[in-house]
């Protein structure tokens, strides 16, 4: 079997996926109250469309896209709006949030209705219709960056896309949501890809899957071998972090390098997450907006696993109701929204699951390790590890001492966390580099 991989740098942190691997996706009982944030996508937050005491149904649009790079937000439950006010979100900023009292019976009924209908035939639809549907359903990239999918699927007319890449690498340690999704919904995934192919008029799709998921590779290989899904191929990827990074995936599969400061369509590629492809299928064929997603709840909880969570359920609810609560609350050190490498710890557990929440990771005092940062000893491990070929040590020092002239390559950093992971003196390199970005922007802008 030919293995694809990117050339520069990369690390292989302990995977720890066995906690939740192969646990079938479960749908938890609905919470009594949910809080849906209106900034669940990259770009401008959506404008609220509902008012206090308004009765709403499952999939009703409660936030309208405000501007070109923005996305609609839909209600994941039926019930009554109790209030619309700013609240803290899982990404750490205040945003308008719609609080809804859930009508459980009605919600269950309306949710089931989505799956009972016969899927619409997407081959009869025009490109315009398909993109419009994806936009109406508020589909965003579900890998974590949450870029609105309809914008990505309408590249500028002068850029010809010839390769579609699907990221099933799931290179973050602990997370298994995409893996389980590929195992449980392969047909939805492949049909979603057919829709994306039809929109772009391309017959060349690669699904990149790391070799630590052999069953997923085998299953999708069998499906594509039947010939029902022309143009779709499987690319087994070497297990290495960050194999699922957009630029790394392009380099691994096509050998092309995205120029500095440019987007993937410059080299004729388009990268989507597996979750996005399934969401596209459900939006187009079942008219189901993006109102739930598969989330891995793992780490120091009683029953780690993969769960289909409604957007807007709070972290505390899902940890208590789905994952059986913390194993020992007094030993919990941090709760992370996302994976351990790129995720971000949440300030309190009242924040809600968002469209980009791929995992909820609870770390105990044995797994969580913090040391104060030491000085750079110039060992160069971060330089060896950087998948973008940057010099994190130089960039970090440039940010620390406010020297924009040292920060010329800072905008190429994808913030994957490899440098912070390998640093022997525990320097918080990614954080410094993140701080360096505004410094560089201000210096070059004025």
């Amino acid at each position: 079997m030919k293995l694809f991989t990117f050339k520069r740098g990369g690390v292989h942190p302990p995977e720890n996926k066995s906690l939740s691997e192969h646990k079938p996706v479960k749908s938890p009982e609905l919470p009594n109250r949910i809080a849906i944030n209106l900034n669940q996508h990259l770009g401008k937050p959506a404008r609220p469309l509902v008012k206090k005491k308004q009765e709403i149904f499952v999939g009703e649009r409660i936030g309208e896209a405000d501007g070109f790079i923005s996305a609609h937000v839909h209600s994941s439950v039926a019930g009554i709006v109790t209030k619309v006010e700013p609240a803290m979100t899982a990404v750490g900023i205040l945003a308008d949030t719609v609080f809804i009292d859930v009508d459980k019976e009605k919600t269950a009924e309306e949710l089931a209705a989505f799956y009972q209908q016969t899927p619409a035939d997407f081959t009869q639809m025009t490109t315009q219709e398909l993109v419009e549907k994806i936009k109406d359903c508020g589909i965003v990239g579900m890998g974590g960056a949450t870029f609105p999918a309809n914008v990505k699927l309408s590249p500028p007319p002068d850029k010809k896309i010839d390769t579609i890449l699907i990221n099933g690498a799931e290179c973050e340690p602990y997370l298994t949501a995409d893996h389980q999704l590929m195992l449980e919904q392969p047909d939805a995934l492949l049909n979603g890809l057919m829709i994306i192919q039809q929109i772009l008029g391309v017959q060349n799709t690669w699904i990149g899957i790391e070799t630590n998921k052999p069953d997923a590779i085998q299953l999708l290989q069998q499906k594509t071998d039947t010939g029902r899904f022309p143009g779709i191929q499987i690319a087994p990827l070497k297990t290495k972090y960050p194999q699922g990074g957009e630029k790394q995936l392009i380099a691994a599969v096509t050998g092309r390098e995205v120029p500095s400061g440019k987007l993937p369509f410059e080299v004729g590629c388009l990268v989507q997450n597996t979750g996005t492809a399934v969401a596209v299928y459900e939006a187009v064929c079942l008219n189901k907006p993006l109102i739930d997603r598969i989330v891995t709840i793992t780490g120091f909880v009683n029953s780690p696993g993969n769960y289909r969570l409604p957007v807007g359920a709070t972290f505390r609810q899902v940890i208590d109701d789905c994952a059986g609560g913390f194993r020992d609350e007094s030993r919990v050190k941090t709760v992370i929204n996302g994976g351990p490498m790129m995720g971000k710890n949440v300030r309190n557990l009242d924040v809600a699951v968002m469209k980009g929440t791929s995992g909820i990771l609870v770390l105990s005092d044995t797994e969580f390790h913090y040391e104060d940062e030491g000085p750079c000893i110039r060992c160069g491990r971060c330089v060896d590890g950087c998948p973008m070929g940057l010099m994190p040590t130089k960039l970090a020092i440039g940010a620390e001492y406010n020297r924009p002239e040292d920060l010329d390559t800072v905008m190429d950093c994808i913030e994957c966390g490899t440098c912070s992971y390998v640093c022997p003196t525990r320097r918080q390199l990614v954080h410094w580099i993140r701080l360096g970005k505004p410094i560089f922007r201000n210096a070059s802008g004025s």
């Binding site: 750490g92 941090t334 971000k344 710890n345 300030r347 309190n348 410094w432 993140r434 701080l435």
Partner: protein, 281 residues
């Protein structure tokens, strides 16, 4: 003997020629500069803080000597120094009222904090990480970027909040530019009443995260007889021109957000005893 003679004569000749070249060059390429510039620069505080809006003290001296620009004012120099400079140059320098920086926040331990922040201990880094433990999205985080930036050592972090010693503050604006939350504002030294809050949020929202934040109740506006309260929605501000320091608003403010700073109220204690109080970040 011969060698010493040859060496000294040849080196002497080279030195003479080089000296001549330098002499000619210094006469030919001499830059004529007003000697007053040096003298004025000598009189300035020499902090190179940039508070005047120019690149440093030298630039200020050049500008004031060459352009006779009377609108220029060195915020770091006291009145006497500026008068001396004006006298030397035969100018009338208006100067204007003395301005000092004030922190529009007194949150600190009055404000609610949540979670852990283990990132880099600077305000700018905390803001970039979106992971500030301070719940108030407008308040002082207290990691001390302004303290480190202040060229006059006028800022201390006391109880997680930046406190400015107004007697030391010269109004150079370095902290104003440094604060990532734009909390620090230049206000006239003589107007000692100000609203120490920066949150434009509505009252109930403010109440959730801070006990001393402005809730926008308008009581100060009603109490003031001199129309000295500018009321932006949900955040009051004092109009320095109208304020008579009657302190009616200070008494009426239910959250004790409006502060009156007497001459020594903000004075920071001596460094040694201060260290224990300062939360070292």
């Amino acid at each position: 003997m011969n060698i010493i003679l040859v060496t000294s004569i040849s080196l002497g000749t080279i030195a003479l020629i080089a000296g001549l070249v330098l002499f000619v060059a210094s006469k030919k390429f001499a830059v004529l500069e007003n000697p007053l510039i040096d003298e004025v620069e000598e009189m300035l505080p020499g902090a190179n803080c940039g508070g005047c809006g120019l690149a440093g003290c030298r630039a200020f001296a050049e500008a004031i000597v060459n352009n006779k620009d009377t609108s220029l004012n060195c915020p770091a120099a006291d009145k006497d120094t500026m008068n001396d400079i004006a006298e030397k140059l035969g100018l009338q320098i208006s100067g204007g009222a003395r301005m000092v920086a004030r922190v529009n926040c007194q949150g600190g331990h009055n404000s609610i904090r949540e979670g852990d922040y283990l990132g880099i201990k600077t305000c700018a880094a905390a803001v970039v990480s979106n992971n500030v433990t301070l719940v108030c999205p407008h308040g002082c985080m207290g990691y001390g970027d302004c303290q480190r930036a202040c060229p006059f050592d006028a800022i201390r972090i006391i109880n997680d909040i930046a406190v400015i010693d107004e007697n030391k503050c010269v109004g150079c604006r370095v902290c104003v530019k440094t604060c990532p939350r734009s909390l620090i504002e230049m206000t006239p030294y003589d107007t000692r009443v100000y609203v120490a809050c920066n949150s434009p949020d509505k009252g109930p929202q403010v109440k959730k995260y801070c006990s001393v934040g402005c809730i926008g109740c308008k009581l100060c506006d009603k109490a003031c007889e001199f129309d000295a309260i500018a009321y932006k929605p949900f955040l009051a501000a004092v109009k320095p021109d109208n304020c008579t320091e009657c302190l009616e608003c200070v008494r009426k403010c239910p959250a004790k957000t409006i502060l009156f700073r007497g001459d020594d109220a903000m004075a920071v204690k001596p460094a040694a005893s201060d260290r224990a109080e300062t939360v070292n970040v």
